[in-house]
Amino acid sequence: MEQMKQMKKATREAFGDEILELGRVNKNICVIDADIGNSCKTGPFSTELPRQHFNVGIAEQNACGIAAGLATTGKIPFVSTYAVFGSLRMCEQIRQTVCYPYLNVKIACSHGGLTPANDGASHQSIEDMGVLRTIPNMTVVMGADYNSTRKLVKQAAEIYGPVYLRFTRDAIPVIYGEDEEFEIGKAKQLSEGTDIAIIANGDTVYLAIEATKILKAEGYSVKLYDMHTIKPLDKDAVLASLKTGKVITVEDHNILNGLGSAVSEVVAEEGGAIVRRIGVQDQFGQSAPYEKLLELNGITIENIVETAKNLIGKKN
């Protein structure tokens, strides 16, 4: 973990690299692009595997339907677009034509969360995982770095059923080794501890790791999970977190209905812990550097550390 921390890569690159490898081996793998293939890193796939690639233009709803039709014949289509379009623009298409008939369609989206920072609020996607989490039959996944994302994309192709995959536009630190294994629906435990549990996903896992280091250096015992799958949620990991009595969730997503809500649902039913949700504070973003946007929402190493200390000092 230590030696790789300086290397940064966008997880959309992981999708582009992995989907090409998958498509070479399995001719049923298809990519449906909606005019932003190059940005979503499917360019090499389209060049090398043109028979498995379809660019339907700026028509996301149609892209979803075409993927559904392909899936009925045994293809494994990946619809590739930006997260805000791949969740909200085609939301009802996903519900009606993919999730309801439980078809083997993957929605693979770059530009998750605040990572399309300079593009402004129209392109930032802060509601996607929450909205799609509420649709039956859907699986919702966001890897924390390049290596885990590749593994999760591969696994999404291997399991049957609808999967929403969310990637970063911007480069984020590579935190896992190439050989590390990941399982959709099973949280990755990164630290064991008893004072507090931190559950993070996506591009905020790196921040949580750094915050954990600081807390540990100050003598706190911290449990840390990378909850790359928010649906199905790894309930065992949340239950283990409850044992500390204090839980912090961290996500690059609205604090409503995303990871923080998913964890809180378990806590509300099981009891035994206080939860603090760090994430987008139910407000739209703006054009700004990515780090500035995180800071405006308190999604920072410093705020995780401070929130943890305050929580640990609190009586349960």
């Binding site: 498995q52 149609n62 075409i66 559904a68 039709g69 009802e92 298409q93 034509t97 008939p101």
Partner: protein
């Protein structure tokens, strides 16, 4: 394709109409108007044109059918029942708890349904996907899609249409049930669909308009496009009458989504048997 005469197909259309109305009457819920306007086409497709196998509903090489205007599910269920995809008596369970016959087509529950529909504008895209898959796999099956004229107000219809042209889907046929009425009234008042023939032609389709209740014309149109390899997707616009075959339902928007009472049902069956024209 099966060998069947036009006269026999006309009888099949009557059976479809009666079955659909019986389902809707029994359920006291459903959409009779659009079911009846599509009945003649459905007879031609399900008893003659389509290569399907009731014993093997998921046969890989079967022709696909997409009921994009999913609310007229009763007419498709009738066609499936009369073709033996499930026992005929299943029709009496339409829209009831636990039934395989949902209010709108459900591919997971009903044998012979190729894609779940019900939200307008979406089925056509799925049909385009199926036709693309046939091209990818070099298979000769065709995909038939039925959309409503009101449904063509959905923007996604036109996204799907341009995609069909781009990928040269001469194995795709879209039928427009142009009955002129939608839920709230006349399409011309709600949102004029303008010249659908010209619109589909502009979107790259080989387009014809026929009398959607004249079996001879339907069969001739299907004959004329069968085996076409000209790289053009096909559009057949059917001039139809909503509620066709039942005098008091014909051309009345109010019968879009309303079930008949006992007297109305009995009169409807008599009229269909009597061959009202």
């Amino acid at each position: 394709m099966k060998n069947i005469t036009v006269t026999e197909l006309k009888e099949k259309a009557k059976e479809l109409r009666k079955t659909a109305l019986t389902m809707i009457y029994t359920a006291q819920s459903g959409h009779p108007g659009g079911s009846l306007s599509a009945a003649d086409l459905m007879a031609a497709l399900y008893f003659k044109e389509m290569n399907i196998d009731a014993k093997d509903p998921k046969w890989e090489d079967r022709d696909r059918f997409v009921l994009s205007k999913g609310h007229v599910a009763p007419i498709q269920y009738s066609a499936l029942a009369l073709n033996g995809f499930f026992p005929y008596d299943t029709i009496y369970t339409l829209r009831q708890y636990g039934s395989i016959l949902q209010g709108h087509p459900d591919m997971k529950k009903t044998p012979g349904i190729d894609i779940s529909t019900g939200s307008l504008g979406q089925g056509f895209s799925a049909g385009v996907g199926m036709a693309i898959a046939a091209k990818m796999d070099r298979k000769s099956y065709r995909t038939f899609v039925l959309v409503g004229d009101g449904e063509c107000q959905e923007g996604q219809i036109w996204e799907a249409a341009e995609t069909a042209a781009k990928y040269k889907l001469d194995n795709l046929v879209v039928f427009v049930d142009d009955n002129g009425l939608q839920c709230d009234g006349a399409c011309a008042d709600i949102m004029p669909t303008l010249d659908l023939e010209k619109k589909f032609a502009a979107f790259g389709f080989e387009t014809i308009r026929i009398d959607g209740h004249k079996m001879e014309s339907i069969v001739a149109a299907l004959d004329s496009i069968r085996g076409s390899r000209n790289e053009l997707p096909k559009c057949i616009i059917l001039d139809t009458v909503k509620g066709k075959g039942v005098s008091f339902m014909e051309d009345v928007a109010g019968w879009h989504g309303k079930a008949p009472n006992k007297e109305q049902y009995e009169q409807a069956i008599r009229e269909i048997d009597g061959g009202l024209n």
